[in-house]
């Protein structure tokens, strides 16, 4: 089975980045856009073909084999090598499909959205760079390659958020994103180094091998370099390394308290927000945990509770803040944070054996990955829809929108489909994934399960608040007189239609599969131990979550649908401080500012700067001053008098003779 063509999945976007970056300014906008989009189209075709080939191959012992078509040593360093390569296994192939599909849709969409913008070619170049980096991240064969592409993804994000660089807000946002993620990546790097040092290798050689714990008994141990050395060095080494790596992932995936960059990252163009900050880059942290999952299970099961609780706190925090935002992109950003927290929690609860299912303990992993897939689709659809709306209304604020359903039917329908999906209504894809997550949480601990159900209800609530705020409610008549909002052009609506079709299609199939026990659902492709896992929906959990979701939607309809919103206004007046705090995102930014300015800058940086200026520079200045003074004092001896020179000369000669005689 030849997978040699997979190298082109990485090379095509790289090549298009170089071409567009170097000669893009000489091309017309259309040519640049076509080059970017066509290369992405090719990448998508290759990814689908690769997925088809991979998943239709035979399983060995019931597991899809991990295939490594390319792996070469890039930097040999004694025992530890830095390799570069491509690795295909169920989750990386799944991510290939997600990334290429969403990226392709965004490329097509950007034709319409960025039409006429200065820097069009630069935009497509950066999009290609980002796609290449993200693909490299998921296809990495070792943790260090993943780290390299991780950083590249961060750079692409920085470049794209700051695309409108004349705007001060955009520049500040891009810097903030880069600095926060870079700060988290510091922890990631330390984790990698500890891991590499103690286990003797960076590579993911453990992927695809059976997991003893999940199999319920001692069987073949993992082969991760020198695992025995790691364990012998102390039970804390591997959990510490994994937790540090998780912190890095938390920064990239906007977990509390490192989430502060994501809402501000909405300063970038909306297709960028769709691609990077909804579907692909922000799930890099989730992907990293999933990649290291066998290690988490085997060596650090207790540490997974950290993941669970950080995820729960993040999800709740983000949902609470989203209920009070008025900028539609901010609402979607916080919704993203919340959903990613769902994925993290799903991965984190995957430790205990789950009774009543075919294979113990693998539900959480499966559910997290599945939610990643579905979320990417419907969140991208939501963001692109928001882009259409912004394009029509020329503003982000909900206050200026309302009643747009008459003017923008396609956007309206696709947005509604995605909202239903995120709320978890059956027959939409979000239902299947979210239901699995909640059932996994319930089996881990009922407390977590009910909290996540509550957050799911909040999700439905604020999403429909958003929906009604945009498409129903009072129209902004005076703005509409100046400029009637119109439906977006085809290039922008086709991606919306495609993504919502995927959402609905996957939703229908998996809902029916879950209830009727069909195979061939997500679980047959991706699961924790690799074996085929047929999803069965637990009827109670499914019913409860559906009912709660419908109740939240009704509540939102009741409060927000009408022309007037008396209840909402009354809530504002009753809880002004609470609303204000939620609107200000519970002052997280201010807290971070305080920590950095007052504590770090004043107490750490300033003494160090003082030391540098006065002690280090002072030493050299003092040495120079000393040399100067010495020279000045010696200068006086030069009298310019020849006779005196002769006297000294002779004296010296005589003295020397006497000394030599004495000796």
């Amino acid at each position: 089975m030849d997978y040699g063509y997979t190298i082109f999945i990485l090379l095509l976007p790289l090549f298009s980045f170089l071409v567009l970056g170097l000669v893009g300014m000489k091309m017309s906008h259309k040519a640049a856009g076509l080059i970017g989009t066509c290369s992405l189209g090719l990448v998508t075709i290759l990814s689908y073909y690769c997925a088809f080939q991979y998943f239709s191959a035979d399983r060995v012992h019931g597991i899809y084999q991990t295939i490594v078509p390319y792996n070469f040593t890039w930097l040999p360093l004694g025992n530890l090598n830095f390799d570069m390569g491509i690795m295909l296994d169920p989750i990386s192939v799944m991510m290939l499909i997600v990334i290429s599909t969403v990226s392709f849709m965004v490329h097509i969409y950007s034709f319409g959205y960025m039409h006429g913008e200065k820097g069009f070619q630069r935009y497509y170049a950066f999009l290609s760079l980002f796609t290449m980096s993200m693909l490299g991240l998921v296809l990495a064969t070792n943790i260090f390659q993943m780290y390299m592409f991780w950083e590249l993804v961060g750079v692409s994000s920085y470049l794209l958020i700051g695309f409108y660089y004349p705007l001060h807000a955009a520049v500040a946002a891009s810097k903030k994103a880069f600095i926060v993620t870079r700060f988290a990546d510091g922890f990631f790097l330390v984790g990698i180094l500890i891991f590499g040092f103690y286990t003797g290798s960076f590579s993911f050689s453990f992927v695809g091998q059976p997991a003893p714990l999940l199999m319920g008994g001692g069987s073949t141990p993992f082969i991760i370099g020198d695992a025995a050395k790691a364990v012998a060095a102390g039970g804390f080494i591997l959990p510490t390394a994994l937790t540090l790596m998780f912190i890095g992932g938390a920064g990239k995936s906007a977990m509390f308290p490192l989430h502060i960059w994501l809402p501000d990252a909405m300063e970038g163009p909306t297709p960028v927000s769709a691609l990077i900050h909804a579907a692909t880059m922000v799930v890099a942290g989730v992907y990293q945990v999933a990649r290291m999952f066998p290690l988490w299970i085997e060596y650090a099961p207790q540490a997974m509770s950290i993941i669970v609780w950080i995820g729960v706190i993040t999800a709740f925090y983000a949902a609470a803040v989203a209920c009070a935002q008025t900028d539609i992109k901010r609402v979607l950003a916080f919704s993203t944070i919340s959903q990613i927290a769902f994925m993290m929690v799903a991965l984190g609860v995957c430790t205990e054996a789950v009774t009543g299912h075919e294979h113990p303990g693998s539900v959480g992993y499966l559910a997290g990955m599945f939610h990643l897939f579905t979320h990417a689709m419907f969140k991208a659809c939501l963001f692109l829809g928001a882009g259409c709306i912004i394009h029509a209304v020329h503003s982000n604020e909900m206050a200026l929108m309302g009643g747009l359903r008459k003017y923008m039917p396609v956007t309206h329908i696709t947005f509604l489909i995605s909202c239903l999906a995120i709320a978890g209504i059956p027959f939409f894809s979000g239902f299947s994934s979210k239901d699995e997550i909640i059932s996994a949480c319930m089996n881990y601990s009922p407390v977590v399960g009910w909290i996540m159900t509550g957050i799911a209800a909040m999700t439905a609530f604020y999403m429909f608040r958003l929906y009604y705020g945009i498409f129903w409610g009072t129209e902004n008549k005076e703005a509409h007189e100046h400029h009637t909002p119109h439906e977006a052009p085809l290039t922008m609506t086709v991606p919306l239609i495609v993504l919502s079709v995927i959402t609905v299609g996957v939703g229908i199939y998996t809902t029916l599969a879950g209830f009727l026990g069909w195979g061939g659902s997500f679980g047959s492709f991706v699961s924790a131990d690799g074996h085929d896992y047929t999803i069965h929906f637990d009827a109670t959990v499914a019913a409860v979550s559906t009912v709660i979701a419908i109740c939240s939607i009704c509540l939102a309809t009741y409060i927000y649908k009408g022309e007037e919103q008396p209840i909402a206004d009354r809530l504002y007046t009753t809880f002004p401080k609470l609303w204000r705090a939620a609107y200000k995102r519970f002052y997280q930014d201010e807290i971070w500012q305080f920590v950095t300015h007052k504590i770090i800058f004043r107490c750490v940086s300033r003494p160090i700067a003082w030391f540098d200026r006065h002690v280090i520079d002072g030493t050299f200045n003092f040495a120079a001053w000393g040399a100067n003074e010495g020279g000045e004092s010696l200068r006086v001896w030069q009298s310019g008098d020849v006779r005196q020179y002769a006297v000294w000369f002779l004296t010296g000669a005589v003295a020397l003779t006497l000394i030599l005689l004495a000796i």
Partner: protein, 102 residues
């Protein structure tokens, strides 16, 4: 024959008289004259040693001969320099040439 110590003492005395003169005098030409005394002392030394200690060889003789020649040349150049100094500084004392001071 006169013993060699006498020649030696004579040349040493002449040498240090010349040194004394060089250090003491301010007039440039007087300093040069003192230098001539020094050179002559050295010449006496060479000649005496050669004649009285190494009679078969002639190195000292030729050394003295060449030293006389060289002293003449050196005096000429030094006088030329002094003439230049006199033209520029309008003075014939060594105190006036203090450009290198400090």
């Amino acid at each position: 024959m006169v013993p060699v110590q006498c020649y030696f003492v004579l040349s040493a005395l002449l040498f240090f008289i010349g040194v004394y003169g060089f250090v003491t005098r301010r007039n440039l030409i007087a300093m040069l004259i003192s230098i001539e005394l020094v050179l002559n002392a050295v010449d006496i030394n060479f000649a005496a040693f050669n004649r009285l200690l190494f009679p078969g060889l002639n190195e000292g003789f030729f050394m003295t001969l060449f030293s006389i020649g060289i002293s003449a040349a050196e005096s000429a150049v030094a006088i030329a320099i002094i003439l230049n100094v006199y033209r520029n500084f309008k003075s014939d004392t060594v105190d006036s040439i203090t450009n290198l001071k400090n």
